[in-house]
């Protein structure tokens, strides 16, 4: 068990280094001189030279990478070109909005999807199963930004129950803040329930065919107890991995949802930065999201043996 945890922790380090390298290389591919980009066309040669030296661009690429990673490790992700603010605090402020929506959405969708998937598997090939499977396939096929727009049209424009544009922080006015995140959360839940239900169903079907389930049934354990005590823990383990993936997908695709609902989150920060050619911010957000994703998957893998001890024993 300890060996498993240590090995998994050690594996994370090269991945994070390579992620940093990929982000570093990507921004290096930007055509033109980064110093010129940062200072604009009006900059004089001396200032340009000074900035180049400050950024370490007179060094070799390897040295530049080391220099840059060293600063990243101390939490220095550079300064935004447009707002002149340091990038990390900018990211952290925006991340609050994104994290709030994503965490609630993942929690709610797992709570709905796991029982739904288990029910479908329990009555495999019945009308109930067909209904649940069709529903989840349909949900997987809806583009999130479109579903968001339609919900906005129905609840914001037609029924006028919820506001259409804007955002208020949770700390400022909790109730009004909720009214702004209901629809984005609902959108994400509807979409992710589709993905997770399919996974939970497949996992449950696998478990139901195992001998120990037949044994429990033969002992006269009630169906509800079989499902809850014997099937759920084992069927939940593979679904847990997918929750990590879904969390990542939400983080990676959050930009469109934040655009639909005009939320000042991390995705919007990145898209705006792309439009403004604010490369330090683009670089910072990419690094931040990828690192978060790697760490979430690490956490999922570390939690996995709690549901399926075989994993740690085999490793």
């Amino acid at each position: 068990m300890v060996g498993y945890i240590l090995r998994r922790l050690l594996l994370t380090i090269p991945t994070l280094v390579l992620v940093a390298l990929a982000v570093f290389a990507l921004i290096r591919m930007v055509p033109g001189d980064p110093a010129q980009l940062m200072l604009g066309d009006s900059a004089d040669a001396e200032t340009l030279e000074a900035l180049r030296r400050a950024m370490g661009h007179d060094l070799s690429l390897a040295a530049q990478f080391l220099h840059w990673s060293g600063r990243v490790l101390t939490g220095d992700l550079g300064t935004s070109i447009t707002s002149r603010e340091p990038v990390l605090p900018l990211i952290l402020t925006r991340f609050g909005v994104t994290a709030q929506i994503v965490i609630v959405a993942v929690a709610l969708s797992s709570l709905i999807a796991v029982p739904l998937g288990m029910m479908a598997a329990w009555r495999q090939n019945s009308g109930l199963d067909l209904g649940i499977t069709s529903f989840s396939t349909l949900m997987v096929s809806l583009p999130s930004f479109w579903l968001g727009l339609i919900l906005l049209l129905v609840f914001g424009v037609w029924l006028q129950w919820l506001p259409i544009v804007g955002y208020v922080g949770l700390a400022e006015d909790p109730l009004r803040s909720l009214s702004f995140i209901v629809l984005p959360v609902l959108t994400l839940v509807l979409i992710e329930v589709g993905v997770l239900t399919r996974m939970a169903r497949a996992a449950t079907i696998d478990v139901l065919s195992l001998d120990y389930v037949a044994h429990a049934r033969a002992k006269g354990v009630s169906e509800a107890a079989v499902m809850a005590r014997h099937v759920l823990p084992n069927a939940f383990a593979p679904t847990l991995t997918l929750i990590g993936v879904v969390l990542g997908n939400l983080l990676g695709g959050i930009a469109v949802i934040e655009t639909v609902f005009t939320l000042p989150g991390l995705g919007r920060l990145m898209v705006d930065a792309i439009f403004q050619r604010d490369y330090p911010v683009v670089q910072g957000v990419m690094l931040f999201i990828a690192t978060t994703y790697v760490l979430v998957n690490l956490a999922v893998d570390l939690a996995y043996p709690l549901f399926d001890p075989r994993v740690a024993a085999e490793a």
């Binding site: 396939t137 997908n249 983080l251 999201i289």
Partner: protein, 270 residues
């Protein structure tokens, strides 16, 4: 029963989409790009079946032209992803050792960028254009292909018929092309089908953000984004492109599921 139903529905949806895109090559009811302000935001009528947009352009014609754009972007992207992914996967799986370790470490690092994040980053560098999207999404999906191909090659190279080919004195290269690669085809067909759906979704998301195919060329994503300010007066404008994306994705998902069941019977019932 289920796979056949999936195959029929999925196949019909995909075939309908392809037919729409092909028709748009030679004929659309009206010009998809000609502006005519006098008939802007018209409701559906005999002349404009799905109404007109904020510039008086025929929505149905734009949907058809959009199908053509989405489909060609999807096919080109999947081709790019497959070409890179197969090359990396085969090299990795066949040579194993440090080549494999090095390639897969890089591959895993790229897979650590979730969703469309890597494509967004690449687009920041390449700049928004139709081919920029193909390149960005192609590179972003290649690691997934490489993973599948490598896994297949690794398990196949230990199988008896591959051993037999070697025992017969066939070279490694010949064995690879003649006996290993053909067996990677069916999982790749399944992957490519689903990937077409993902790419169409990703492309429309990027176009929706304004980072995809630049206007006036119509895509479902940029039509949806342009329709937002008129949601109250002309909701249909926002509804139709989304329905097209959804139908297309549903088609790709169902067809992908059906092909997986048909080509890989071990997966049946999942």
């Amino acid at each position: 029963m289920r796979p056949r139903l999936n195959l029929v529905i999925g196949g019909t949806l995909v075939a309908g989409l392809v037919a729409m895109a092909v028709t748009a090559l030679v004929w659309t009811p009206a010009s998809p790009v000609r502006v005519n302000i006098r008939v802007r935001l018209q409701p559906p009528s005999g002349q404009y079946w799905l109404g007109t947009d904020e510039f008086g352009r025929d929505v149905l014609s734009r949907l058809m032209a959009g199908a053509q754009t989405s489909l060609s972007v999807a096919l080109a992207t999947v081709a790019v992803a497959m070409a890179i992914g197969i090359a990396v996967g085969v090299t990795s799986g066949f040579f194993r050792g440090w080549v494999d370790r090095l390639l897969m470490m890089g591959n895993d690092a790229l897979l650590a960028f979730p969703g469309i994040l890597l494509a967004l980053g690449l687009l920041a560098v390449i700049g928004p254009s139709q081919w920029g999207i193909v390149l960005a999404l192609g590179l972003a999906y290649a690691p997934t292909v490489a993973r599948v191909v490598r896994g297949q090659v690794l398990s196949l190279r230990e199988r008896e018929f591959v051993e037999a080919s070697r025992a017969l004195g066939n070279g490694e290269g010949y064995t690879l092309v003649r006996h290993v690669l053909p067996h990677t085809v069916s999982p790749l067909i399944v992957l490519a089908t689903s990937m077409c759906g993902w790419v169409i979704l990703a492309e429309s998301a990027l176009s929706f953000l304004g980072l995809g195919v630049p206007p006036p060329a119509p895509t479902w994503g940029n039509m949806l984004s342009a329709a937002r300010p008129f949601m109250e007066t002309a909701p249909l404008l926002a509804v139709v492109p989304g329905v097209m994306i959804a139908l297309c994705l549903l088609g790709a998902n169902l067809l992908g599921d059906a092909l997986r069941d048909l080509l890989d019977p071990r997966m049946l019932g999942q």
